[in-house]
């Protein structure tokens, strides 16, 4: 239902001013091609600055690409960006347009601006607020809510007025588990009842693994992989992640431990290693058996996550993916 071909956008270089360093030309999306099927929950995963939001802004008609095409449900969004608003609902990262409104008015107004008449807008507002458990907060201004509640209220506004495609840019940021569950069950219901398609932007790997049907991994504006979460993980199936947490410092006097040091990603007391299963077994035996054990606080052995996939695929940014 949604096809993206050769989408490229370059931000021009900015000359430095006093207090503002110059930034070189940045290719925010680089020849991106994607196909999203109807009823799919499709994810864009990547660290901050990978070009996820820029890609989504081009797909929603908010930004004109330098070249390439975006077709959603047979409509050319690059040539007719105004049609995007009649096909999709977009939940951006910013809530500033709704911040001073009450939850109820934010949802109702958004519905009216999505073309519903007053009665429909009120009915859908009530249904959506009820579905998401926001009825008790309906008369509170968004500004007075916590970050997660505000995000949920914005999500509610995005749902008022049915659309075949939902574009959600990090919808669950700051939400507690109850709110997250409300979001995903609302998405699932729409998918089951109307075949709604979802394009989800996230940097949360756990969420990506649990809710997505397929995921495109973005790195510096390029799609470096696109498959189901399991399919991607199979690409690094030969590896196991070993995490070692030392009590104070790593016992480098133990030769086996010292030998591991140049293969590890260190973060304070925590060492992360990606190893073949055989090797992993040896390492665990070493650190739990001999002299190293006294210095060991905790260890975990895990099958690879999407984060490992990202790193294995050559993702350049070592930080930025969230595991929560």
């Amino acid at each position: 239902m949604c096809a993206v071909r050769g989408l490229t956008k370059t931000y021009p270089a900015v000359r430095g001013r006093r207090g503002v360093p110059a930034t070189p030309e940045v290719r925010a999306t680089d020849d991106v091609a994607l196909d999203i099927g109807r009823g799919e929950i499709f994810g864009l995963l990547g660290p901050n600055g990978a070009g996820k939001s820029t890609l989504v802004r081009q797909m929603t008609g908010l930004m004109r690409p330098d070249s390439g095409s975006v077709e959603i449900l047979g409509h050319d969004i690059v040539r007719h960006p105004e049609r995007a608003s009649r096909i999709l609902a977009y939940l951006g990262q910013e809530s500033s347009a709704l911040d001073d409104l009450t939850v109820s008015l934010a949802a109702e107004t958004t519905g009216r601006l999505r073309g519903l008449d007053a009665r429909q807008a009120r009915a859908e507002r009530d249904a959506v607020l009820d579905e998401l458990g926001l009825t008790a907060l309906a008369s509170r201004p968004l500004r007075k809510l916590s970050g997660g509640q505000r995000r949920l209220a914005c999500f509610a506004a995005a749902l008022v007025g049915e659309r075949p495609l939902l574009v959600l840019d990090e919808p669950t940021t700051g939400m507690d588990p109850v709110a997250r569950r409300a979001v995903w069950s609302a998405v699932d219901r729409r998918r089951a009842e109307h075949g709604t398609t979802v394009l989800l932007v996230t940097h949360n790997v756990i969420e990506a693994e649990t809710v997505l049907d397929r995921v495109a991994v973005l790195d510096r504006g390029r799609v470096i992989a696109c498959d189901t979460p399991n399919g991607l993980k199979e690409q690094v199936a030969g590896e196991v992640r070993v995490e070692l947490v030392w009590r104070e410092a790593a016992p480098l006097h133990v030769p086996e431990v010292a030998a591991l040091r140049d293969r590890t990603v260190e973060s304070g007391r925590r060492w992360t290693l990606r190893l073949a299963p055989e090797e992993a077994r040896t390492v665990v035996a070493t650190v739990t058996g001999g002299a190293a054990f006294a210095a060991l606080d905790d260890f975990t052995l895990a099958t690879p996550s999407l984060e490992d996939v990202y790193l294995a695929l050559g993702g350049a940014v070592r930080q930025g993916l969230v595991k929560a």
Partner: protein, 274 residues
């Protein structure tokens, strides 16, 4: 994907599929101008109620304060009319021009415009709804200022009903200007600055009696849209108001209002798709 080999299919099945390229899906409804304008107006007015009431007090006290100050300098006559009319319209300038420029400047900088840009709403509805709400929000302050000024300077209250025309027309002109400044300013601080400057201009050029000004300032005064609202309002304090002149001034105000709102709408379109 079908597992049946293409050759096994009865003739016509595939060709029918291939011949017709996927038909574009039906689009969702478009929001029509007036209902969406009403929805934006209502939302913005409730926003203003929540967040902007203290600022309305500031605007009113500022105008009242100016009138009290000028009381020592001006006593009666044409100058008193100009001060009262100018101070009343200043409330409109403060809210419609200054606050609206700040609002749109911040909305644009924070990415809040994306919300409206991804809804099928006519740009004019967003701009007019916000401008209208900000202009209506000035009504109590303007009326209070005008009544207070009339009492202070001993002017007749009989024709204050003219505010019913002055506020929307001057409001349209100033709100359109404010929205355009906010949407065109490359940075929010610049939008704030331009809004403040616009309001200072309305203050200096509207409140101070023009007879004492040098030629160049009078020219600037003629260029400022709020001037015509001030003039129209000031004329109604005369014992026998010259209604033809009042109408002409209001007409200028209205024309400037239409132009500035059109510019603001164009600026919104430009800001929404970057």
């Amino acid at each position: 994907m079908s597992v049946v080999p293409a050759g096994a299919l009865p003739a016509g099945v595939l060709t029918a599929e291939e011949a017709a390229p996927p038909r574009p899906a039906a689009l969702g409804p478009r929001a029509r101008l007036w209902p969406s304008l009403a929805a934006v107006y209502r939302a913005q007015l409730s926003r203003a109620r929540v967040a902007r009431i203290p600022l309305l007090f500031v605007a009113t006290f500022q105008s009242v304060g100016i009138m009290i100050l000028m009381r020592g300098v001006v006593d009666g006559g044409g100058e008193a009319r100009a001060v009262v009319a100018g101070s009343s319209v200043l409330v409109v300038a403060f809210v419609a021009l200054n606050l609206l420029a700040q609002y749109f400047g911040q909305l644009r900088a924070s990415g809040g415009l994306d919300h409206y840009a991804t809804l099928p709403v006519p740009p004019a509805a967003v701009v007019l709804g916000a401008a209208g709400a900000y202009a209506s929000f000035t009504v109590p302050g303007t009326v209070v200022t005008a009544v207070f000024g009339c009492v202070l300077y001993g002017l007749p209250l009989a024709h204050l009903w003219i505010l019913a025309a002055v506020i929307p027309l001057a409001g349209a002109a100033l709100a359109g200007l404010g929205a355009a400044l906010g949407l065109l300013a490359p940075r929010p601080e610049l939008a704030t600055l331009l809004g403040q400057l616009g309001m200072s201009a309305a203050l200096l050029l509207g409140v101070l009696p023009p007879e004492r000004m040098p030629e160049i300032v009078r020219l600037a005064r003629d260029l400022l849209p709020s001037t015509y609202g001030v003039e129209a309002f000031a004329r109604t304090f005369a014992p026998h108001p010259d209604w033809a002149h009042v109408l002409a001034d209001l007409a200028v105000c209205g024309v400037v209002g239409v132009i500035s709102l059109a510019v603001a709408t164009w600026a919104y379109r430009r800001a929404a798709v970057r």
